[in-house]
């Protein structure tokens, strides 16, 4: 497609916001009806809207790592279990467009009354605090996906408006916190319903043809904006290598390599040279690699363009099969979505820094610092808890990095300490900025966080964190951010823990997570 379409500026603006409003409204419904703190407080979910061909039209401003992968979930659903009127299809299989097992995606079609041809599809994905497997929270240090939890291919959770009791029972029988899961799944169904209802209203008001015309115009518009960015970027071949600390089960550092070729408004992104898939759960699937590319391009465009399929058109992403950026079964993948995804962004930005020196920031903290806790509470009921911790943002050319903030592939909130204390048998005893952890330079990197927990009952604790040995780099002569540290207070002293570990804690134990700072920019 090489024509330059002219757009009616008012219509583009209007429909951009109209579609975005649908995904936003779905998000509100999900958050307000969900049961688990990870969804209702931390907003670890995303919502999206697709046209009848499965092309993504809009996505909520939620979690970038879901960007490139939601379309693959919808594609898998349409291929294996196409939803008809009143149906909701559920899946979490990372090898069918999922990301990692805790992320459960629900897909529904939007139909006019009495018709069988869909107008749109709506989907939402939420991170469930447990989906079974070897450790509470389903983010273990595993070596096979079968240990990580229940793997679900696309299947019907709701058919013709009726909840499929057998499917639900099978899922709930395999997880540690079934009541919470049932509540969250119903919230996800509600979110899709809200999206369907709004879209049916919009079509009733404007007519299906008009809506389709505007949807196509928006796809073209995003494509054109992306091409413009690529044209403004000098043609060339840009190459970079970075490393993950380790795979969590004894292997590392793990190499990630990329070559970005930009020419005439198109880009080819090739991850050849990246390590083969690893034994531990740091493997990313292809959808995550696509998400990282999508995110980087979208951030560099620096305009409020709609995140849709059009943004991807000028991009070609090539991944070596059975590698750490494109794993195949039975690889374990829990950390690929949350940790490897951040490194993919780091390496892409590193490659593009010479091309866009005044745009690309220094490395940000580069880890989501995942913590899962599970056990039995005082009333004898099982609980599982999941959260991620922010770090320092890399300094920008012209501005310091922000402190204690999620960067790049996630933007989930913290759990309010008061909400957490209400619900779980452990306490947060300190939550502070980590002084001095930001890299020095003309512009300073942001500071990481310190978060400390005290356990009141025995529990299983798992941490997946990165940048514990390989520090976030500075740019243009700026200093590196401080590496993160994990420590356990037991028997009257602090012990050092690795970046990825799973332990059993006892009452009185304390855990302290110190997250990495951001790199600095320019010489001081």
């Amino acid at each position: 497609m090489n024509r330059r379409t002219s757009f009616d500026p008012v219509s583009v603006e209007l429909w951009k916001h109209r579609f975005a409003a649908v995904t936003a409204e779905m998000g509100v419904a999900l958050r307000r009806t969900a049961y688990s703190s990870n969804i209702k407080e931390r907003r670890d979910f995303s919502t999206a809207l697709f046209d009848a061909h499965g092309r993504m039209l809009a996505q909520g401003e939620d979690i970038p790592v879901h960007l490139g992968s939601m379309p693959m979930s919808v594609e898998a659903a349409l291929r294996e279990a196409p939803p008809g009127p009143g149906d909701v299809v559920l899946l979490n299989d990372p090898f069918r467009g999922g990301t990692h097992l805790p992320d459960i995606t629900l897909v529904s079609g939007v139909f006019r009354r009495g018709r069988r041809a869909p107008l749109f599809y709506v989907a939402n994905r939420a991170h469930h605090a447990d989906v079974g497997g070897m450790r509470a929270g389903s983010m273990p240090l595993a070596t096979e996906i079968y240990q990580e939890g229940l793997r679900i291919p696309p299947l019907f959770l709701v058919r013709g408006g009726h909840e499929q009791g057998d499917v639900l029972r099978l899922i709930l029988a395999n997880v540690r916190t079934p009541d919470e899961r049932r509540g969250d799944l119903r919230a996800q169904i509600a979110a899709n319903r809200v999206g369907e209802r709004r879209l049916v209203e919009i079509v009733a008001e404007h007519g299906a043809q008009q809506v389709e015309r505007h949807a196509n115009a928006l796809l073209d518009y995003s494509e054109q904006m992306t091409r413009q960015l690529l044209r403004r970027t000098p043609d060339g071949r840009y190459h970079a290598v970075d490393f993950l600390d380790d795979d969590g089960v004894g292997c590392g550092p793990v190499r990630i390599e990329v070559l970005v070729e930009i020419q005439g408004g198109r880009a080819r992104v090739d991850f050849a040279g990246s390590a083969p898939q690893v034994a531990g759960g740091m493997n990313a699937i292809e959808a995550i690699a696509r998400s990282a590319v999508f995110y980087v391009v979208r951030a560099l465009v620096a305009e409020a363009i709609p995140s849709n399929e059009g943004c991807m058109r000028p991009l070609r992403v090539v991944v070596p099969s059975r590698s750490v950026v494109s794993a195949r079964p039975p690889a374990a993948v829990a950390g690929g979505n949350v940790e490897t995804s951040q490194r993919l962004v780091d390496v892409l930005l590193k490659a593009l820094r010479p091309a866009l020196p005044d745009r690309v920031p220094a490395d940000s903290s580069g880890s989501m610092n995942n913590l899962t806790i599970g056990g039995i509470d005082r009333d004898g009921a099982p609980y599982t808890y999941y959260e991620t911790m922010a770090g320092g943002m890399g300094a920008r050319p012209g501005a310091h990095g922000l402190s204690g903030v999620h960067t790049h592939m996630t933007n989930s909130l913290n759990t309010p300490i008061e909400a957490l204390h209400h619900q779980f048998p452990f306490r947060v005893t300190r939550y502070a900025l980590r002084r001095g952890s930001g890299g020095g330079g003309r512009w300073r990197g942001g500071e990481g966080l310190v978060r400390e927990y005290r356990f009141e009952l025995p529990a299983q604790v798992t941490v997946l964190s990165e940048r514990r040995t390989q520090a976030p780099c500075g740019a243009a002569g700026g200093g590196a951010g401080a590496t993160g540290r994990n420590r356990l207070w037991r028997g009257g002293r602090w012990r050092r823990l690795p970046g990825k570990f799973q332990i059993e804690v006892t009452p009185g134990d304390r855990l302290r997570i110190e997250t990495p700072g951001g790199g600095g920019w320019g010489r001081a």
Binding site: L14, G404, H421
Partner: protein
């Protein structure tokens, strides 16, 4: 008793009073250094005008709180938290405000690190004390802050909403040393520490500035009863406003929003955008069959604030906005404003060109008829100062003047987009309800660029904000967190203390028989967001039904939790009568022809334009170009617009239909 609404803008102070079924309006220049002085003068003049002094009650819309926060001119404020959580204010919710913006910034916290102090204490979520706060420690913190010259302190401890014992202890220690204190358990007794801390800090930050300023104002203006508009559209006594200034952040624009909705309703506009262009800023709000939506949480100047506010969007462009040439040689207009002092160049003292001066240069503001002829303008001075800017831009004077207006329009257009397009509403289906002193000169241009239906300029346009204040109810909200499974026995028992408090507070505001609305917040056990339903025999049933409508499902089999019981107490006021069309503009003949600069082709050219007094307007449709003069404002009807007089002296502007047909063809 004479009730008077007063709106202090950056440039003018407007007055509106209802007396014997008639609305009287008045306008004087603001006195920013001493706003009470303008109040006093205006009140004196207004009272003379309605026939002598008497007991008055003033309802006041104040930007004192807003400006103190925006310009960061609040108190020297400290924060006391539970030890280990001093940085909660800086970390926020650990999210960035914009997902893809690599240059994203976050507003710095209002209290710097060294003034965020932790105390050792612990209260369990159920309210039991796990670690007592030592009296010595509370005293020591208070002493240290008092010695350091701190003026006000926010106190926000973990779980204080469940047991305020330690916050009270700190409050006493701090007050004993003459510090002003805002405690989170009084202001916002709800869980979620960051939002509670942020709201409490904003309140503490405003304490040393707002109360004294309001009291000084009352004294200076010689008014006994002064109440202040709060962000939710209700009003508060001065005393209540001084202790909870965080409730006044939208006090200024709220009067206009309420007035705009009343005006839209009376003129039969169901879908409109309220557009209030004053001297310093422009406030816009969406009116869809009611007043603007009420938000429960908002951000002001980057600080999250959890108190109810009407949904109003403000940008820094107004008649007094200053035009300048930036480093890149581009024309910039605002957000700096010449305000009332020195004011636009045409008023004789200002030395920077403003939007108003641009209108004077183009002769759309007639020098002899400004404010009904009560203020003399100096058009030579305006032209000279715009010419200075023109030389820097290498343009002629007229093109510079037109450019200033276009740039200001672009800023206002952006604000209109925020409340319409960005919320999914097509401006082509909306009308512009234009008010504020400067609105009438810009309304048509904005209607054209957003292809809106048209613009209505009501007779009371230039004082609509002050008029809106006369609609403000006394309104206060009370809540108590229960967290019990439904049905929680005798709910009435839990409402009683709230009702008692409400009657007492409203009694103090002079309301003897308040309307008391009882409501309950409910959710399914396990959820953390509630739905609010009116309290009644079937409230549980209503909750299931509302949940189903809102979210597409309900779960009658799941247990329901009563989170909060609420009472809203309202002291109604009788609404002011409709405004009759104002007095005839001074000395305006029926029609007059003047020659003025108009946009056209490559450069502005002179053209004959009709000028008509609003009173003299006939009923039939008039074609632009046309200048309609009112006593207190001017309305510009460009060549491609038609104007028609509507009921109660309002003027309707619409793109000329023939032109419209050509365009769509």
């Amino acid at each position: 008793m004479l009730r008077i609404g007063i709106d202090t803008g950056g440039t003018y102070t407007d007055f509106c009073a209802v007396d014997a079924g008639r609305v009287h309006t008045w306008k004087v220049p603001s006195t920013p250094g001493d706003p009470g002085s303008a109040l006093r003068r205006g009140l004196r003049e207004l009272l003379e005008h309605v026939g002598g002094a008497r007991d008055v009650e003033v309802v006041y819309g104040s930007t004192i709180a807003t400006n103190a926060l925006l310009e960061r001119r609040g108190g020297r404020t400290a924060l006391v938290t539970t030890a280990g959580f001093e940085d909660v204010l800086a970390i926020g919710r650990q999210a960035r405000p914009s997902l893809y913006d690599l240059q994203v910034e976050r507003a710095a916290p209002l209290v710097a690190r060294r003034w965020r102090r932790g105390v050792h204490e612990s209260i369990a979520p159920d309210g039991s004390v796990e670690q007592e706060l030592a009296r010595d420690e509370a005293e020591a913190v208070a002493e240290a802050l008092a010695r350091a010259g701190i003026e006000s302190v926010a106190v926000c401890l973990l779980s204080s909403y469940a047991n305020p014992r330690h916050e009270r202890m700190l409050e006493r220690a701090l007050r004993a040393r003459g510090l002003q204190v805002s405690s989170s358990f009084r202001l916002l007794p709800e869980f979620r520490e960051y939002e509670r801390t942020s709201t409490t800090v904003v309140n503490a930050y405003l304490l040393p500035r707002v109360g004294p300023a309001l009291r000084a104002l009352r004294q200076r203006a010689h008014v006994r009863r002064l109440s202040v508009l709060q962000s939710n559209g209700g009003r508060l006594s001065l005393q209540a406003a001084a202790t909870e200034p965080v409730r006044l952040l939208l006090s200024g624009p709220v009067g206009g929003a309420v007035g705009a909705w009343e005006s839209a309703r009376r003129h039969g506009l169901r879908r409109a955008i309220g557009f209030d262009m004053g001297g310093t800023s422009t406030d816009v709000c969406l009116l869809l069959g009611g007043p603007p939506e009420r938000l429960h949480e908002n951000e002001v100047a980057g600080q999250p604030v959890r108190v109810p506010m009407l949904d109003i969007h403000t940008v820094g462009a107004g008649g007094g906005s200053i035009a300048r040439c930036d480093a890149g040689g581009a024309l910039q207009v605002g957000p700096e404003s010449a305000g009332a002092d020195p004011g636009p160049a045409c008023l004789g003292r200002g030395s920077e060109p403003t939007v108003t001066d641009a209108h004077v240069v183009l002769e759309r503001i007639r020098p002899d008829r400004y404010l009904g002829g009560r203020l003399a303008l100096d058009p030579q001075r305006a032209r000279a100062i715009v010419a200075r800017l023109a030389r820097r831009l290498q343009l002629d004077v007229q093109r510079t003047a037109l450019g200033i207006i276009r740039v200001a329009n672009a800023t206002m257009e952006k604000a209109l987009r925020v409340v319409s397009l960005e919320r999914g509403h097509d401006p082509r289906e909306l009308a512009l309800l234009s008010f504020g002193g400067a609105g009438g000169l810009h309304a048509a241009d904005l209607v054209r660029s957003l292809r809106m239906r048209g613009a209505l300029v009501p007779a009371e346009a230039s004082v609509l904000s002050a008029l809106g204040m006369l609609y403000a109810h006394v309104e206060r909200d009370y809540a108590r967190t229960l967290l019990q499974r439904a049905p929680a026995g005798d709910l009435q028992r839990h409402f009683e203390p709230l009702l008692k408090q409400a009657r007492r507070d409203l009694g103090r505001e002079g309301v003897t028989r308040p309307r008391l609305l009882r409501r309950v917040d409910l959710r399914y056990v396990g959820q953390s967001h509630e739905l609010t339903v009116p309290w009644g025999p079937h409230f549980e049933h209503d909750f299931h039904r509302l949940h189903a409508t809102r979210f597409g499902f309900s779960a009658a089999d799941e247990p329901v939790e009563i989170v909060t019981v609420r009472v809203r107490a309202i002291g109604d006021v009788s609404p002011p009568p409709p405004v009759r069309s104002g007095r005839a503009a001074a000395r305006v003949p029926r029609f007059e022809r003047v020659s003025m600069w108009l946009e056209g082709g490559a450069r502005p050219r002179r053209r004959e334009v009709r000028v008509v007094g609003a009173e003299a307007l006939p009923r039939q449709v008039l074609h632009g170009p046309l200048l309609v003069l009112r006593d207190d404002t001017t309305i510009w009807v460009p060549a491609d617009f038609d104007a028609q007089r509507r009921a109660r002296g309002a003027l309707w502007l619409e793109p000329r239909r023939s032109l419209r047909t050509e365009e769509s063809a």
